[in-house]
């Protein structure tokens, strides 16, 4: 194990950082933590005379462990690119990497990469289980990308006189639609949401008639396995059904 990085870090950053050997790398144990308290380790290696500092994929591995989704969301991926830009780090095969240029000290690069790691780990706050409204934002992003005009959370008056909030009122030259998003991580909440959607569609059904009839679309966030066939069948009686995992089919309903 080379003593260079350890001595350099001890001199420039102090004794809060510890070094050890890890499979050909120098493991640098930082005093910083991931949001759950796990310690942030970085790894140093010299290759062809150049120093490379990396997290060896640990940040994305940590993020993967915290979330219910299989991949980073589009928003998380965009923020990750922004973080790389801000801190001047690269992402390669899932690793965050910073090269130690001659003009920089290892301590400076270590500080920069650590900041990037901590910022990337904070993307956890954008995970679905942290912010339930994110799916709704993703739907809005999709509609914007496809140039489909829409209004969010629009109040509509039902035949009973009761007001309902429609998640999205979309407008397209071919068709206007009301979209209710059904998104939850809890099976118990799933039934409640479905019942509410059924009640809304039923009370607003007078809007299906007329010369410019609306289309009702129940959009299921099927990233969680909480929707039973019975619930889906129930909504099919009152609306068109679409799934967030199949955005093309959802869009087709809005524009055809």
């Amino acid at each position: 194990m080379t003593s260079f990085p350890c001595q350099n870090i001890a001199t420039n950053l102090g004794q809060l950082f510890n070094c050890s050997e890890a499979n050909g790398f120098v493991r640098i144990r930082t005093p910083y933590l991931y949001p759950d308290g796990d310690v942030i380790d970085l790894f140093f290696k010299e290759q062809e005379g150049k120093g490379v500092l990396t997290d060896l994929g640990e940040t994305l591995r940590w993020l993967d462990s915290q979330t219910s989704t299989k991949w980073l969301s589009k928003k998380q991926a965009q923020f990750l690119q922004d973080i790389q830009l801000t801190h001047g780090v690269e992402s390669y095969q899932g690793m965050l990497i910073a090269r130690v240029a001659e003009v920089e000290s290892l301590a400076e690069v270590l500080t920069r990469l650590t900041q990037a790691v901590m910022s990337a780990a904070d993307l956890w706050f954008l995970s679905r289980t942290r912010v339930p409204s994110l799916v709704s934002d993703e739907v809005a992003d999709l509609l914007e990308d496809q140039n489909i005009r829409f209004v969010r959370n629009e109040k509509q008056l039902g035949r009973s006189g009761r007001s309902w909030r429609v998640d999205f009122h979309t407008w397209h030259p071919q068709q206007s639609s009301f979209v209710q998003l059904l998104s939850t991580g809890s099976r118990a909440a799933a039934n409640t949401k479905a019942n509410s959607a059924v009640a809304a569609w039923s009370d607003l059904s007078h809007l299906l008639a007329g010369s410019s009839p609306l289309r009702f679309v129940s959009l299921f966030d099927d990233s969680a396995d909480v929707w039973t066939p019975e619930v889906i069948s129930q909504l099919e009686e009152f609306s068109e059904v679409a799934y967030w995992s199949r955005p093309d089919e959802f869009l087709e309903l809005l524009v055809s």
């Binding site: 060896l56 591995r61 993967d64 462990s65 219910s68 899932g94």
Partner: protein, 151 residues
């Protein structure tokens, strides 16, 4: 918020099971570590699944029990140190366990895990025991890591 009572009920529920084999997946987007995800079935229908990932370069292994509505509620880390909210360092073998006050930030040393990180199949078997999960299938060993030009 998941109550303590609900969490303890989930952990103690012995009907939790995995009815499939487990295969580790490698991918270019995370070349140094492999992962898997499997659903957990239970008589009470808890929306749970297990995620596992393993960084073979540094021998860091993680198994987490995820509740779809609340995120990680229980998990094992090998090869990574942890600091509890009270400042106590737990060490490179620790389990996170949900609490209402601290969510998943509180960890302890699990005496039941004796296999090392480079034996993920053995670690998995020990993990399932305390978590009361019956695995009706086989976990295949992770694919051997191939060093690339970068490393």
């Amino acid at each position: 918020m998941l109550s303590q009572e609900e969490f303890e009920e989930i952990i103690a529920d012995t009907s939790k099971r995995i009815d499939s084999d487990i295969t580790w997946e490698a991918d270019e987007s995370h070349a140094l570590w492999v992962k898997f995800r499997v659903e957990i079935v239970s008589d009470n229908g808890y929306p749970l699944f297990i995620k596992g990932n393993y960084n073979q370069v540094i021998q860091a292994l993680t198994f987490v029990l995820v509740h779809v509505g609340f995120g990680r509620i229980y998990g094992l880390d090998l090869g990574k140190d942890h600091r509890n909210p009270d400042g106590i360092m737990i060490g490179e073998k620790h389990k996170h366990r949900w609490s209402e006050a601290l969510r998943d930030k509180q960890a302890y040393v699990p005496e039941d895990i004796t296999a090392p990180a480079n034996q993920p199949v053995e670690v998995w078997q020990q993990f399932c025991l305390e978590a009361a999960i019956e695995h009706n299938g086989t976990m295949r060993p992770p694919p051997a890591w191939q060093p690339n030009l970068f490393l």
